[in-house]
């Protein structure tokens, strides 16, 4: 720590003074013992946060006192038996509701702008877990962390519970009076009445909007979303003259060029995209390793050119960082290389010509099975150009098609600006905000909170009484999607119904009910508001069928023919005022625009690339960090357009050199117990006219430092080989040979399967894994894994049973990125078992490495001896046993662990037991695929396969037979049951000499 040397000199000087002033001999063993003085400790805390954590909080005497007292109390506590339990019967048991078996209901959720069909697992009426709906086109069974966290959002104890009027608890009846008065007041034409909603994805909301505007013709309805798709919309208008939407068919695309488009994780429909992308790669491999290699599809190749690394660039065969200001120029160069004449000219992007030519050649060679994509932050002209290029390459109708959106699309930023203009002009007499948080999630430049304060009557409907809820005259609690009737349209235009799986926990209503109250009497049952929309489309049988299946059959719109016309050529902006540094705004991977700030699971889930938890950080490139002498956690002051903010930095390998990414969603002031006052609020610098990027930022280093909580400090492979990777060509030419089984001194009995012939094992395909963390989130939900908080994560005490490691390879400016999920390996020769003094971790006959909580005394020897570091210890009482809502969320089939107990991945033993008992009862064997672990079920790309390795025909055995299969840290000869399939990349031979 060279920057601390001045502080250290100061400490040493003070030490010398103290030692010099001491009378007589004074002995000390450690420096921190000597400097144990409050003032000094404070100083120490500022200078050396790690050391100050070691400073004793208690002296020895106090420690012994507390130890004695707690022993005595623990002894007393043990003297009572378990508390008596009560059983409460139903009054009238509903038909078909089992007593203890879970039930699954199909519904639809919208998470971070992505609509996906899900199956909700309920236990005795309590939703506990989300699974993807295999029948829904946007899920196909996969989920993402946001969908997994929806149950915690439902059970969030901080949700708003009753209406609030002017800061005083009120009732819906009181608001109904207000609503009736509003109706009378705006009766003639509705001028002055404004509604602000998010993007309309619900056909019922669209219908209600039409009716609302028919009833109040002078009223205005605005749609604002902090993470907007304005550029894509404007690009479609430029190219086609109508707001067409693009539907990708990635399973048909061999060569994909992504210009800042994170189709694997950020874009709506990403679950389907990831599945299609991974499936095609699997098909290629199966084709080559099958009997007739000529039948194999063309091996795919993904080029990702973007300013800030995303999961798409992490999975790309070639990823090159390029400042976002240069991306339009690059798009034009590529277009020129592909023969679009009017694109030539203009400033150069700085991308080497040979790369442009190589990409163009690859695209030309794969006409009709290639795809170009532009990210949501790129200007509309780039989107229009990409439409033209896709058409020129013959991709339309093959790898993508266009459809007419059923709901009105509106430019989000323009819509918000129309509202703020009306607000500052005093034209807004009443504002109804439907489920959004504009007082936080709008560009700071607009001053929305101040404008909101001037509106004579403001009404906010939301899950939480957040920044907007506090600022409005009325706050009304909304029902959660799992408590409401509604409908939603997915990325491909197909519609599905939202049905409640639990009656509202609190006194909330849906936005459909609120609109009904504003336009009518408000008395309609919530289900009728949705049914009315589908009158004439769905009869009773169709309605029931749609509910059961979770998708409305035939609702996806037909593709329309569209010809992209030449758009005006792309203009490069040259407003470099003061500096050439650009600021990029991105939704946080898990917190998004701040909506999920109060969700502990998502806060603690390591961000896919930085592995940060509980905070955002300004992402800077390694070179910029070196230039400014910045380290991770150093705070910089960023000034742009006359506004400034302070943010800790995180050095992001693969970041474009002069681009700084500011993730949104943090710095919430009114969010709840979990999400307040974490990180910084990037909205302060956002600009309404260009919400994704501003230029000419000035940076100043401050002397502050923030200890960021990252779960993976190691970015390199440390000379070991945890991720096996090879190029496709090398793999096909020379598939790796199986390493012969090593000899072991352990008795071989553990390799035997049980008498019934089950031996559980898992295979994780690193070629399919995109690093999205869905497995970690699903495991957390399934296995009652507690959240520990930022402080404990900094100490390395996070509890996730499956973690997704991320490794970099190559130059830090443009590294190759690898992701590797690591659950318990269930080693046949488990090093943890031999060191447990109480036999709390043992093997069973089916090869599971068990952790017996009731035997565990917490020596942590097992964790110490585990080479994979997958064991997690409850250092404190992490599981919240007092909050009734969180109790209701838990999976009743999994023990809740207490303080002092070791825990780890069990291969979802509860699911194995359920399948086992079911099969046993029916006198049959468990079928292959009958058991899906939570991580396997959640994985959008089906990278995880679990099953019986004793059966040579099972899916997992077939995976393990692949030449790509390898064991992690094989040299230790622990014989893990979890193995991996090596990752493959297919770099362009023309660019062989660069990575």
């Amino acid at each position: 720590m060279p920057s601390l040397s001045a502080d250290q000199a100061e400490i040493m000087a003070a030490l010398r003074t103290r030692v010099g002033n001491a009378r007589g001999p004074r002995y000390w063993r450690a420096l921190d013992e000597l400097i144990d003085e409050p003032a000094f400790r404070r100083h120490l805390h500022d200078a050396l946060p790690q050391v100050s954590q070691l400073a004793p909080a208690l002296d020895r005497r106090a420690f012994l006192k507390l130890l004695g007292a707690s022993l005595a109390l623990a002894g007393l506590g043990a003297c009572s038996g378990p508390p008596p339990e009560r059983i409460l019967p139903w009054i009238q048991q509903p038909e078909g509701v089992p007593d203890s078996l879970p039930q699954f209901y199909a519904t639809t959720l919208c998470a971070g702008g992505n609509v996906a069909g899900v199956l909700v697992e309920t236990h005795q009426g309590r939703p506990t877990k989300i699974e993807g709906n295999p029948a829904h086109p946007a899920s196909l069974g996969g989920t993402d962390p946001l969908l997994q966290a929806a149950v915690l959002e439902l059970w969030d104890p901080d949700r708003s519970q009753s209406p609030v009027h002017q800061g005083v608890a009120s009732t819906w009846d009181a608001f109904a009076t207000e609503a009736a008065a509003l109706q009378r007041r705006f009766e003639p034409d509705g001028r002055g009445l404004h509604v602000l909603s998010g993007t309309i994805r619900s056909p019922t909301l669209a219908r209600q909007r039409r009716e609302f505007l028919a009833r109040f013709p002078g009223a205005a309805w605005h749609q604002y979303e902090a993470v907007d798709e304005d550029n894509a919309l404007a690009g479609a208008m430029l190219a086609f003259g109508r707001p067409l939407q693009m539907r990708l068919r990635l399973d048909q695309a061999a060569v994909i060029v992504s210009l800042g488009a994170d189709f694997l994780y950020e874009m709506p429909g990403h679950l389907r995209h990831a599945r299609d992308y991974a499936d095609r790669r699997k098909r290629v491999l199966e084709g080559f390793t099958g009997r007739d290699p000529s039948s194999a599809p063309t091996p795919g190749r993904l080029y990702a050119i973007e300013a800030t690394p995303s999961l798409t660039s992490a999975n790309a065969d070639h990823s090159w960082p390029l400042a976002e200001s240069a991306l339009p120029a690059f798009a034009r160069e590529l277009a020129a290389a592909l023969g679009i004449a009017d694109a030539a000219g203009g400033p150069a992007s700085g991308m080497p010509e040979r790369r442009v030519q190589a990409i163009a050649a690859d695209l030309r060679a794969n006409r009709g099975q290639s795809l170009l994509l532009a990210g949501p932050s790129l200007p509309a002209e780039v989107h229009a150009l990409v439409h033209r290029l896709n058409a020129a390459l013959g991709n339309v109708g093959r790898t993508l098609d266009y459809f007419e959106p059923a709901e009105p699309r509106e430019a989000s930023a323009a819509s918000l600006q129309a509202l703020t203009a009306a607000m500052s002009g005093g034209m807004v007499e009443a504002l109804v905000i439907l489920d959004g948080n504009p007082a936080y999630a709008t560009p700071g430049e607009l001053g929305f909170p101040e404008l909101l304060a001037k509106v004579p009557l403001s009404v906010h409907l939301g899950l939480h009484r957040d920044e907007t809820g506090v600022a409005c005259h009325w706050h009304l609690p909304a029902t959660h999607a799992l408590e409401s009737w509604s409908d939603l349209r997915a990325f491909d235009g197909s519609a599905s119904l939202v049905q409640p799986v639990i009656s509202p926990l609190y006194d909330g209503r849906s936005m459909h009910q609120l609109l009904d109250l504003l336009t009518g009497s408000g008395g309609a049952p919530p289900i009728d508001l949705v049914r009315v929309t589908w009158d004439g489309v769905l009869d009773e049988a169709g309605w029931q069928q749609s509910l059961r299946q979770g998708v409305i059959g035939g609702s996806a719109p037909h593709a329309v023919g569209a010809t992209a016309s030449a758009a005006p050529s792309v203009e490069l902006s040259h407003e470099t005022q003061g500096s050439d540094i650009e600021l990029l705004f991105r939704p946080d991977p898990h917190i998004r625009d701040g909506h999920y700030a109060n969700n502990g699971w998502l806060q603690e889930l390591p961000k896919p690339l930085s592995h940060l938890t509980w905070s955002n950080a300004a992402l800077v490139s390694p070179r910029l960090a070196a230039e400014l002498a910045l380290g991770n956690g150093d705070v910089i002051r960023i000034a742009a357009n006359g506004r400034e903010l302070e943010a800790p930095v995180w050095i992001m390998p693969g970041q474009a050199e002069r681009s700084i990414t500011l993730p949104m969603g943090y710095g919430r002031l009114v969010a709840g117990h979990v999400g307040e006052k974490l990180g910084f609020d990037a909205n302060a610098l956002r600009h309404a006219a260009s919400p994704w990027r501003i230029e000419g930022a000035r940076l100043t280093k401050t002397d502050r430092h923030v200890a960021l909580a990252s779960t993976q400090q190691h970015h390199r492979m440390e000379g070991r080989d945890p991720v096996h990777r090879m190029t496709l060509a090398a793999f096909l030419a020379n598939p790796p040979a199986k390493t012969p089984e090593r000899r072991s001194l352990y008795p071989p009995r553990l390799q035997k399967s049980g008498a019934e012939g089950y031996a559980w094992g898992m295979s994780i395909d690193l070629d399919a894994c995109i690093g999205c963390n869905a497995c970690t989130a699903a495991c957390q939900a399934e296995n009652n894994i507690p959240v520990v908080g930022a402080e404990e994560v900094r100490r390395g005490r996070e509890m996730h049973w499956i973690r997704v490691d991320r490794y970099y390879e190559g130059r830090p400016e443009a590294p190759a990125t690898w992701h590797q999920p690591v659950p318990c390996m269930h080693c046949e020769h488990a090093p943890c078992e031999v060191v447990c003094p109480v036999g709390a971790t043992v093997h069973d006959s089916e090869g599971l490495n068990l952790q017996v909580y009731n035997r565990c005394v917490g020596t942590r020897f097992c964790s110490n001896n585990c080479p994979y570091k997958v064991r997690r210890f409850n250092f404190l009482q992490y599981a919240d046993l007092d909050t009734p809502q969180l109790e209701a969320q838990r999976n009743p089939d999994v023990s809740v662990r207490n303080r002092g107990v070791m825990e780890k991945c069990t291969y979802c033993i509860q699911r194995i037991r359920v399948a086992r008992i079911g099969a046993d009862r029916e006198g049959r064997r468990i079928e292959d695929g009958e058991i899906a672990t939570a991580c396997e079920a959640a994985c959008p790309t089906r990278a995880i396969t679990f099953g019986n390795v004793a059966d040579p025909d099972s899916a997992v055995s077939r995976e393990k037979a692949s030449p790509r299969s390898y064991a992690l840290l094989e040299e230790l000869n622990t014989r893990p049951r979890t193995t991996y399939l090596a990752a493959l990349r297919n770099p362009n031979p023309a660019l062989e000499d660069e990575s």
């Binding site: 003297c79 339990e85 059983i87 009054i91 043992v842 069973d844 068990l850 017996v852």
Partner: protein, 215 residues
């Protein structure tokens, strides 16, 4: 002056102190042993309604599954909804004061609060359906409920007690059709059980594994 304490007094003092210490530990252990469970084995458990299994099962001959409906399919055997009680008691003994809480619950919708009799710790995952499917009779664990005017716990349900049977299930097995029979007996349970173990494919090697009950 003679010494007040003899040389051996120190030893006696130590002995007294040691005895007191041991007595304290014994007292604590005894207290713990006595208060370990809210209700001891064979001790009738008071209920909001003095429900008699003896009357319903023994006298009236109602099958276990009439009330404990999910015992064959689920982990939990099921506790009957009040509507099940009311199938008969809307007609029979409607004005009995003993039944007043049931009627009140039916009318108010406020559930009865039965006292749990057979209780396992939260880290034990017991499944009724598999035991029934493998031919373990109700009586084996719950005793002769048809002779219980108030229900009590018939066995300790301790881990050692569970393991006794999981190690050697044969003596506790009966044909599936006799599972709900309270009075079923067999002269040679070991021989019959051995045959049934084969027939019902019961594998004792997995029965004593930790994962069978703990997860």
């Amino acid at each position: 002056m003679a010494q007040i304490f003899s040389p051996r007094a120190g030893l006696y003092a130590w002995l007294v102190l040691a005895t007191l210490g041991v007595a304290a530990i014994v007292a604590v252990l005894a207290w713990r042993g006595l208060t370990a469970a809210p209700f001891a084995v064979d001790e009738p458990v008071p209920q909001p309604v003095p429900f008699s299994h003896r009357h319903h099962v023994g006298d009236d001959g109602i099958d276990c599954r009439y009330c404990h409906a999910s015992v064959e399919t689920e982990a939990f055997a099921g506790i009957p909804p009040v509507s099940t009680c009311m199938t008969c008691h809307s007609q029979l003994f409607t004005d009995q004061p003993l039944l007043a809480p049931v009627v009140a619950s039916w009318e108010s919708g406020e559930p009865l609060r039965w006292q749990r009799v057979n209780m396992l710790p939260d880290f034990v995952f017991f499944n009724h359906s598999i035991h029934v499917a493998k031919g373990v009779g109700c009586v084996t664990c719950h005793g002769r409920v048809d002779r219980m005017p108030l229900t009590w716990r018939a066995h300790s349900l301790s881990m050692a007690w569970c393991l006794d049977c999981h190690r050697n299930p044969a003596p506790n097995l009966r044909p599936r059709e006799a599972v709900f029979d309270m009075a079923w007996t067999n002269e040679d349970p070991q021989r019959l059980g051995t045959r049934l173990m084969h027939e019902y494919r019961i594998d004792t090697s997995t029965l004593t594994e930790c994962s069978t009950c703990h997860r």
